[in-house]
Amino acid sequence: MSFITDDQNPLAQLVELKSSLALKDDTADNHDLLVELRINPDEIEEDRIGTISVEILEATLSVDFSGLKVAPKTRHGQGETGGKTRKELQRETIISTTSETDKKKSADASVGASATGPEGKAGIGGSSSKHYAETAMHRQSESVTEDFYPVRALSDDRWKVTMQDGGPLNDAFLDNDRLCEVSEVREANRKGAMTSLVAKQKHVKITLERKASVIAVPFSRNQQALMNIVIAKSLHERSGSSEYSGHLVFSQSTISDEG
């Protein structure tokens, strides 16, 4: 069976998404879903209002399969099942003992004579102190090492795309890499996969460098927040997908069988 691909990247300067199905050598029914995904911040020059900077902080790669299902243990960005993590434990034990003995003794005596008669004064004094200290310290630190996947597998045929430093997405995340392996569902009439790159509005950072001739005063926080939604909604509408409801579809790549 052969497949045709339709890639829709209306904002290709921000997000580029391509997909294809490649037949596995060893079996006639299994394919690799290969994906190209590049995301980077960019600017949109708007003649009327100014320059808009767009940065995506977090996105979801979502795949809708028809007549295909994901083969077990083939998802990209999925660690070993069972939650295996590496723990490093550092232990430090300090035991210190201090013993101090300080003895002080004093004695004095004096004898004097005066016109009124002899005067005598004698005294003897002594003191001693003993100091004993013991310290025991136990320090323990633990570090857990976890692998970071910029494209991490989630449930429901989704992958979360993030940067390790939490900053704006700016990388070639997949370059014709296998997202997963799929097998054909025999009874299905149509076979295909639609891959979408989606981001919630709150994960898209928008900054407007305004044209002072049109927007004379800097926007308040309210105006800025509303402007961001307006821009997000408009960018979403370029993808031609469903009506805007808080998330933007940046790109879509559809694979369908020719027959």
């Binding site: 904002l11 300067q13 921000l14 960019d42 600017e43 949109i44 020059e45 708007e46 003649d47 009327r48 209002i49 808009i52 919630k200 509005q201 709150k202 049109v214 927007i215 004379a216 005063v217 926007f219 308040s220 926080r221 309210n222 105006q223 927040a225 509303l226 402007m227 961001n228 939604i229 307006v230 821009i231 909604k233 408009s234 960018l235 509408e237 370029r238 009506e243 805007y244 409801s245 808080g246 998330h247």
Partner: protein, 377 residues
């Protein structure tokens, strides 16, 4: 071949028109601005980043904020109900946090809900007694007393005395700083008719050393737009007497310029207080002792009266005056020459000139009676 490697003019005509409409309405409420921007309340606010916005005077019926980031939202007189959707929204530090937390609690606990209905139906005095008894560790309903008293507090919106009393019992028993903060934020947001509640809120904030909390200050700033002058007064005092930022002073100034005379005088009084007692003296009417408004033109006679008042207050020998600020002193009845008064008047004008930088413009009219001697008065 590519037309251009760069992205340009990607926004729709409707979006551009929406942004231009937004730019033209900086003073409109959030709800009005959203409408101008062409946004649909039932859909467009899902998953939105709305952190730290001000919702003052907005009607949020039918808004869907599912999954939105609403942290730190402030505002007064915000209208919302069951049709306002907050599913999965982050409400931390917002005016909604406390009430939504309670709503969720009572939706899940029928026993608590029944008990609340029963207590809320009682007289105000019975409610106070119930709260006092059950907030104690030995109270019969101690485990439910905190959420029920908090719910009673919000329900008593039209009974400020009951609210203030319930707050008095509640505040010391809320162990989490965040929960206390959320309750106080919500209380300010209700913009009560009597200032007693707001006064209690600011007092609790001071007791808990929460006066520097940015969100609380933002909420106090929203209260400056209250329709209740007593609440305005409390808010302006709270902000100006707890290390105001330049932005806060500017915001209060803008509100004062666009408000009535009361807020103007409050602004002048608090700015003068910040600058010191000499400024307090030169911004008072020399006869009535009332604080002058932001734009005042005085006669040269009044200028001289202020100058003489300053001289007299400074040289006062009354025992009771010693520890009083200049404006409260009775002042000496010493005679000052025209020359001494003229010299002091020049100093008064220097202080007035300094006040221009903070938007307070007190000037002297070039009147025909300029030569009237103050000494004769």
């Amino acid at each position: 071949m590519k037309d251009s490697p760069f992205l340009s003019n990607a926004l729709s005509e409707a979006a551009l028109a929406g942004i231009e409409a937004l730019a033209a309405a900086p003073q409109a409420t959030f709800q009005e601005q959203a409408k101008l921007a062409g946004l649909v309340p039932a859909k467009d606010f899902r998953h939105a980043d709305l952190r730290n916005i001000d919702l003052t005077d907005s009607d949020l019926h039918g808004f869907d904020f599912s999954g939105a980031d609403l942290r730190g939202i402030t505002g007064i007189r915000v209208r919302w109900d069951q049709t306002t959707i907050f599913d999965g929204a982050d409400l931390s530090g917002s005016i909604f946090a406390s009430k939504i937390r309670l709503r969720t609690f009572f939706n899940m606990d029928q026993q608590a809900n029944n008990l609340l209905a029963s207590v809320a139906g009682q007289s105000w005095s019975a409610q106070i007694i119930w709260a006092a008894e059950n907030l104690r560790p030995t109270g019969k309903f101690h485990e439910l007393a905190l959420p029920i008293t908090e719910a009673l507090f919000y329900r008593a919106r039209n009974d400020e005395f009951l609210q203030a009393e319930l707050m008095r019992y509640l505040a010391p028993r809320i162990s989490s700083r965040e929960a206390l903060y959320d309750m106080l934020t919500a209380a300010i947001s209700d913009d009560p008719r009597a200032a007693v509640v707001i006064r209690s809120v600011f007092s609790i904030l001071r007791q808990h050393q929460m006066t520097r909390n940015a969100q609380i200050r933002q909420q106090a700033l929203a209260l400056v737009k209250s329709r209740n002058p007593a609440n305005q007064e409390e808010a302006v005092r709270f902000l100006m007497r707890n290390l105001p930022t330049r932005e806060e002073i500017a915001a209060i100034r803008t509100a004062a310029e666009g408000g009535d005379g009361f807020l103007e005088s409050m602004y002048v009084a608090e700015i003068s207080r910040l600058l010191g007692q000499v400024y307090e003296l030169v911004t008072r009417d020399p006869v009535s002792n009332a604080t002058l408004s932001m734009k005042t033109v005085l006669s040269s006679s009044e200028l001289k009266l202020i100058a003489r008042r300053w001289l007299r207050a400074k040289s006062s020998r009354y025992e009771k005056d010693v520890n009083l600020p200049l404006v409260q002193r009775k002042g000496s009845d010493h005679y000052y020459s025209a020359d001494e008064i003229e010299k002091k008047a020049v100093k008064v004008q220097v202080l007035w000139s300094n006040l221009k930088r903070v938007g307070i413009e007190i000037d002297v009219a070039t009147d025909v009676d300029a030569n009237v001697s103050i000494i004769e008065t």
